[in-house]
Symmetry: C2
Subunit: 249 residues, 2 copies
């Protein structure tokens, strides 16, 4: 929808309750005052990941400082489904994080595999991408983004009760709709996608031996890593997640 | 996969048959000689959308001119499923075209709706994006990209025998997995996605009256237009398209 003053949604960390006064961050103050050209009295929506969505009014107690006066709750808290997305960092990482946030991933986990070209991840920046995407797509939570881990640490730490679908680009995986059939939103699950160069053979061998892991495939074309991740998440949401019932925001 | 000389795939327009000699385009010559630093004798793969995939060798008859000597077919022709994607042009149009190509859309149709901000589409550039994506994802076809049309012309010209799933961001659409159930890859189908500002009410009214159109929804979050388009295509491929059987490229 087009952005109007009434539909500006911002994430805050403070508790939300009627009558609360919350200081805007410097970035929020800059965005509202200089980008959106709003001032005292402007209406915004606030969420913090656990208190639902609230209507608030901008107040400007002093030059360049900006507060939110919290008025009333307009939506109760609502979680996204408990879906995790683990991924080898790729060039278009910010894009992947943005789209995963929109599509309703709860937890993002960067994993350094053998053939991962990217050696450093700017976690603060990715968290900002996730927050902005959550603000825009009307989520009431921001996805959790964990510190990157090695592939070995990742498979060791993965909870045995959570199904791990890894995207096997060598063509050996089960078609995704079939692999997900029989699951439900209540079955804890996550996806793992490899880097541009694919998983190493030793990594595929290790994954195939894990009792909680299933190899899945996404058809005959070779998808870029970020495309595969988003396609897999979309399929899960459509078949098992919160796209299975008519939308009620 | 990492790009090696052997895995460079290029689209050509000429017929492919053993012994054929085909002139490379200037862009292909530049890419092979200057970007990939290849020369005479290098191995490449060629496809043209109807003769399958062929191994070929680079020859350099004169400075800056480059030919392909076609050796032998390594894959027979194979179409993508007959899925169309119509979309109001959005800011990230090149991204949308690239991802739709990877995901296996056969036909792309830009549609100017009332709230479409973009007024011109660079068709030549989009065709280049589609071609590059097809080269990289191992498709044997390049998606057809039609000239943009108005919304009115679009719904008038849509073939009545083809199901049109339009993404209804107002929340009234059927969950996508349910909407697609009962269909098959043999049922001609297409999606229509709106612009950032959504469809106008009159457009939604017109769509709802078409006997061949179905409103679909993608859950409770507000997806960006390009995210919605790609998610819908991924769901269709997984449920009805060529992701339903184990991959055999």
């Amino acid at each position: 929808m087009p952005k109007t003053a009434a539909s500006i949604r911002l994430y805050v960390e403070a508790p939300l309750e009627a009558g609360a006064g919350i200081a805007a961050s410097d970035a929020q103050a800059h965005y509202l005052l200089n980008v959106m050209r709003l001032g005292a009295g402007a209406a915004v929506l606030l969420f913090n990941g656990h208190d639902g969505e609230w209507q608030a009014t901008v107040t400007v107690p002093s030059k360049r400082r900006l507060h939110f006066e919290v008025l009333r709750q307009i939506r109760g808290q609502r979680p996204v489904p408990d879906l995790w997305l683990a991924f080898a960092p790729v060039k278009r990482l910010e894009f992947l994080v943005e789209k995963a946030s929109e599509l309703g991933v709860a937890v993002l986990q960067p994993v350094f595999t053998q053939r991962t070209d990217i050696t450093r991840v700017n976690l603060a920046r990715l968290k900002a991408n996730a927050r902005e995407a959550a603000e825009q797509c009307e989520r009431l939570t921001v996805p959790v983004i964990h510190e990157p881990v090695s592939f070995a640490a990742f498979i060791t730490a993965w909870p045995a009760g959570r199904r791990l679908y890894f995207l096997d680009e060598t063509g050996g995986g089960a078609p995704i709709a079939g692999a997900l059939s029989g699951g439900s939103a209540a079955t804890p699950a996550g996806f793992l996608t490899g880097p541009e160069g694919g998983f190493a053979q030793s990594e595929l061998d290790a994954l195939r031996q894990l009792p909680f892991a299933t190899a899945v495939g996404l058809g005959p074309r070779v998808l870029r890593a970020e495309t595969a991740a988003l396609a897999a998440v979309a399929c899960w949401q459509a078949l098992l997640g919160d796209w299975t019932s008519t939308a009620t925001v």
